[in-house]
């Protein structure tokens, strides 16, 4: 039952991922990306990480995809042909190199883990309480540094997106 659910969701995730790179319209790409993110949230919950599943929906599906859609709205979604700047065989070179890359990764994975290794966690190991306890005690410093990074990113975004008047007045 769980395996059947995994296979179905994995197919949906693959459709979403392929849709992102094959759509001609940026809005469609953003919506396929949303599909991919939501399926990943379900995977996180299946793996016992409830908090991260919810964070995935709020941050990725809620904030990041909406940000993408805002930018697409501002600059227009029609983006023309898929391969405008590549040389003749560039696309096939990319496909072949990624296929080899995938083969190397899968071979490495197949050797790194036994195929049916049992999972050892309790079902509520990723609850808000458990992750919060670790995050606010052992990993407090990285957590605070992440908040500093968010502040820096916010200031950077405001500065970059500001319209400079001085260029036109000079």
């Amino acid at each position: 039952m769980s395996l059947l659910l995994f296979v179905l969701l994995a197919l949906v995730a693959l459709v979403g991922a392929s849709g992102v790179i094959l759509s001609r319209n940026a809005v469609h790409s953003a919506l396929f990306l949303l599909l991919n993110f939501v399926v990943f949230a379900v995977f996180y919950i299946m793996l016992g990480a409830q908090l991260l599943g919810v964070v995935q929906v709020i941050v990725y599906a809620g904030a990041i995809v909406v940000l993408f859609l805002f930018v697409v709205m501002l600059i227009g979604g029609d983006i023309g042909p898929i391969r405008s700047g590549l040389r003749r065989y560039g696309r096939w070179a990319a496909v072949v190199s990624m296929a080899v890359f995938l083969l190397v990764m899968v071979l490495g994975l197949a050797r790194s883990l036994p195929p049916d290794a049992p999972a050892a966690t309790a079902p509520d190991a990723g609850s808000v309480q458990a992750v919060g306890e670790v995050l606010y005690t052992t990993y407090l410093l990285p957590f605070e540094l992440a908040s500093l990074l968010l502040l820096a990113g916010m200031i950077g975004g405001v500065v970059l997106a500001r319209r400079y008047r001085s260029h036109t007045e000079e």
């Binding site: 991919n36 990943f40 990480a49 930018v71 600059i75 990624m98 190991a125 990113g153 970059l160």
Partner: protein, 100 residues
């Protein structure tokens, strides 16, 4: 119970699709989306392995990665907007101001 290897294999496939998108697409927005997809597949790897070995460090790491990804998208999209105002294109082949 789904074996952890299946999750890792799916994450590897999604990562490869994202990397392929970065290589074949020329639109800066689509390239950003593919980078987000690659970050997400690595997050799935971390969570699957945290589940496999029964500790929470992987989940804490994913938390930090999500924060970094949010910052990256905010700054990156601001850069895209600035470039569109300056050159009126999102094609990364035409964005060559730093090329000598």
């Amino acid at each position: 119970m789904v074996p952890t290897t299946y999750y890792l294999a799916l994450a590897a496939v999604i990562f490869a699709i994202g990397a392929l998108g970065v290589l074949i697409r020329r639109n800066a927005l689509i390239i950003f989306m593919c980078v987000e997809m690659m970050l997400n597949s690595v997050n799935l790897t971390l969570i699957a392995l945290a589940h496999q070995w029964g500790n929470l460090i992987g989940q804490v790491f994913v938390f930090i990665v999500v924060a970094v990804a949010a910052v990256e998208v905010a700054v990156g999209l601001a850069i895209v907007m600035a470039i569109v105002r300056h050159k009126d294109t999102t094609n990364v082949d035409e964005i060559n101001l730093l090329k000598g």
